[in-house]
């Protein structure tokens, strides 16, 4: 088997919530022991409800925030202990696209300067800049004319294209896209999803695609990981996972999505209650208070990750 381009082992991130400097901090386990392997050219979707740690996972991989525990291997090399300088070199190959297209472009800079920033940061020779700029801006469906404008002159969809172009400037291998279409209208969302797929082919990209929208993830991903309260509950090939979800949470999640067809109504599994607070998670399986198939053991013991029917799953139902 080939080595995964990106491998995550036992990744944990704790946030200390401190309200005063004498106070004992409370900890939020935003990411709590996640293992993940991503192979070159794949699109791995990460889904889960708000606050389950999707963004934290993405940021930890790029070490925009320092993980508390665990290792991250990029092309087989451990990058979780690299110093700042070396990390900068790694970032050349891993880039990020953010959710909010209105907030991620500096309003005071022209598009040209925004797109040039990665080139400057990574000391790409000056003479290559223009050709790179032109090629990339056109690849995302804009033209060189747009380079001299400012972000506020663009619509949300166009800004997201610029954000994607920025991530592409260094021709990275991996792109971590944190909810890149969530802020967009349906018709624009479709444009961006198509663009991402085209670019993947063109530049041979590997995507880590974070979203809370199941249908979007289903559309774009090869593999899907479902997170719940900082832990992975199910991970597998898209077809299998969507076709026959095994984990009760995945099942509930899938059945909750409203379908735009009055005749295609299904039996819905409505979950009880709200997502528990991540600073005070329940014992045992974290999902058990809301689970419709809860066993006694679930209350006390956290289920380990197992391989079941060609996918990874953490649930006592499948022993």
């Amino acid at each position: 088997m080939t080595t995964p381009i990106l491998e995550i082992k036992g990744l944990k991130k704790r946030f200390a919530n401190k309200s005063g400097w004498l106070q004992k901090p409370t900890f939020v386990h935003a990411v709590n022991g996640i293992d993940l392997r991503v192979f070159e050219g794949e699109t791995v979707g990460i889904v889960g409800e708000s606050g389950c740690g999707k963004s934290t996972l993405g940021r930890c991989i790029l070490r925009l925030i320092e993980p508390s525990e665990g290792t991250i291997l990029f092309e087989g090399k451990n990058i979780s202990k690299l110093d700042k300088k070396e990390m900068v070199r790694v970032r050349r190959h891993m880039q990020m696209v953010f959710q909010n297209p209105y907030d991620t472009l500096n309003p005071k800079q022209t598009i040209r300067n925004i797109l040039k920033e990665p080139l400057v940061a990574h000391r790409v020779p000056q003479e290559e800049h223009d050709s790179l700029l032109a090629e990339t801006i056109e690849a995302v469906g804009l033209t060189v004319r747009h380079l001299s404008r400012y972000p506020h002159e663009f619509s949300g969809g166009q800004r997201q294209r610029i954000g994607i172009a920025r991530a592409l400037m260094l021709r990275p291998k991996v792109i971590i896209a944190d909810e890149p279409v969530s802020a967009l209208d349906v018709s624009i969302q479709a444009q961006i999803l198509n663009l991402l797929q085209d670019l993947q082919e063109q530049y041979c990209l590997t995507y880590l695609f974070i979203s809370h929208d199941l249908s979007v993830v289903e559309h774009i991903s090869d593999k899907v990981a479902v997170l719940y309260l900082g832990e992975m509950v199910e991970f597998g090939e898209k077809e299998k996972l969507f076709g026959q979800p095994l984990h009760p949470y995945t099942q509930a999640l899938l059945s909750s999505v409203p379908i735009a067809d009055p005749d295609e109504q299904r039996e819905r599994i409505t979950l009880r209650g709200d997502l528990p607070s991540p600073s005070n998670p329940p014992d045992g399986c974290k999902f058990h208070p809301r689970c419709h198939a809860c066993l006694n053991i679930c209350r006390t013991e956290a289920p380990p990750m197992r391989e079941v029917e060609g996918r990874m799953i953490a649930c006592h139902l499948y022993r």
């Binding site: 907030d103 991620t104 506020h152 624009i188």
Partner: protein, 298 residues
């Protein structure tokens, strides 16, 4: 089918930079127009004052003490017979210089402290802010008094005192603004790219808090004029015979009962200038108001 979206014919397409574009809008603001016009006039007086002054502002006329405003001395004479109008005209330059220089001190140090504190964070932030807290605990005028007591009263020292004493509040405001920029998406994006801290401070943070800086600086100029004159009022500002308005007001307060014009003109002048500067600050604030910028749909 290509994924090319039709480019929205951007409204602002004809405008080269947003700053230019919005300068027009600034001038559309009545407050801005009025305040800029009058401030311009006052600056002009500050520049040409010495040439249009009818008398030497330091020249005492032993035969014309404490004369009411008259045709000869439009604003009267002071207690040792100096022409008030001339002193007021010269004073414009002095007062404005003192105010602008002291705010300059505040601006440079306050911005440095505020931005560093916000961007670096951690214990440096903690230490800097505790020091600012400590200085904030003293009324600015006491701080200024203390500084003047150490350095001795003079125009320069008043300037330094006023400048330093407003650093704590200025740097806190700057820090607040810088913090909100620091958590913005584009700073995170910049970090994700691998840009250096210096780059981020210079090209991401500073340009985006510039509007806040400009507004605060303007408002602090108003406050600086008041503070300087307050120092002058308790005799610790610019020293006679320098015709600084606060110092003149201080001299004038000795003659409140029988030389009303001595305190009235400097008092009025200070009020008017501060009023105009604050008005400009307000107008700038309106102009920079984030709501006036592209609506963010976070």
């Amino acid at each position: 089918m290509s994924f090319t979206g039709k480019i929205v014919p951007a409204k602002a397409a004809s405008l080269r930079t947003p700053t230019f574009a919005r300068f027009g809008k600034l001038m559309a603001n009545r407050k801005a127009r009025i305040s800029l016009l009058f401030i311009g006039m006052i600056l002009l007086i500050g520049i040409v004052g010495p040439w249009i002054a009818p008398y030497d502002p330091a020249q005492a006329d032993y035969s014309a003490f404490l004369q009411e405003p008259s045709a000869e001395h439009l604003l009267g004479t002071d207690s040792i017979g100096r022409d008030m109008l001339s002193r007021m005209l010269y004073g414009t330059r002095v007062t404005l210089t003192v105010a602008v220089m002291s705010v300059g001190i505040t601006f440079v140090l306050g911005t440095a402290i505020g931005v560093t504190s916000a961007y670096v964070g951690g214990w440096i932030d903690n230490v800097l802010m505790r020091i600012m807290d400590m200085l904030l605990a003293l009324p600015g005028i006491i701080l200024a008094l203390a500084i003047v007591a150490v350095l001795g009263p003079s125009q320069t020292n008043a300037m330094i005192a006023v400048g330093i004493s407003s650093i704590p509040s200025f740097s806190r405001l700057v820090r607040g603004a810088a913090l909100s920029v620091k958590t913005s998406g584009y700073v995170e994006a910049s970090r994700s790219i691998g840009s250096s801290g210096r780059w981020i401070i210079l090209f991401q943070i500073i340009p985006n808090i510039m509007n806040v800086l400009i507004v605060y600086t303007t408002l602090f100029i108003g406050a600086a004029i008041l503070d300087t004159s307050a120092l002058g009022f308790i005799g610790l500002g610019a020293q006679p015979p320098t015709p600084e308005w606060g110092t003149m007001l201080n001299e004038g307060k000795e003659y409140l009962l029988d030389g009303w014009w001595l305190a009235t003109f400097p008092g009025l002048a200070i009020t008017i200038v501060v009023f105009l500067v604050n008005m400009l600050g307000d107008a700038l604030r309106d102009w920079f108001d984030p709501k006036a910028q592209t609506k963010s749909r976070a």
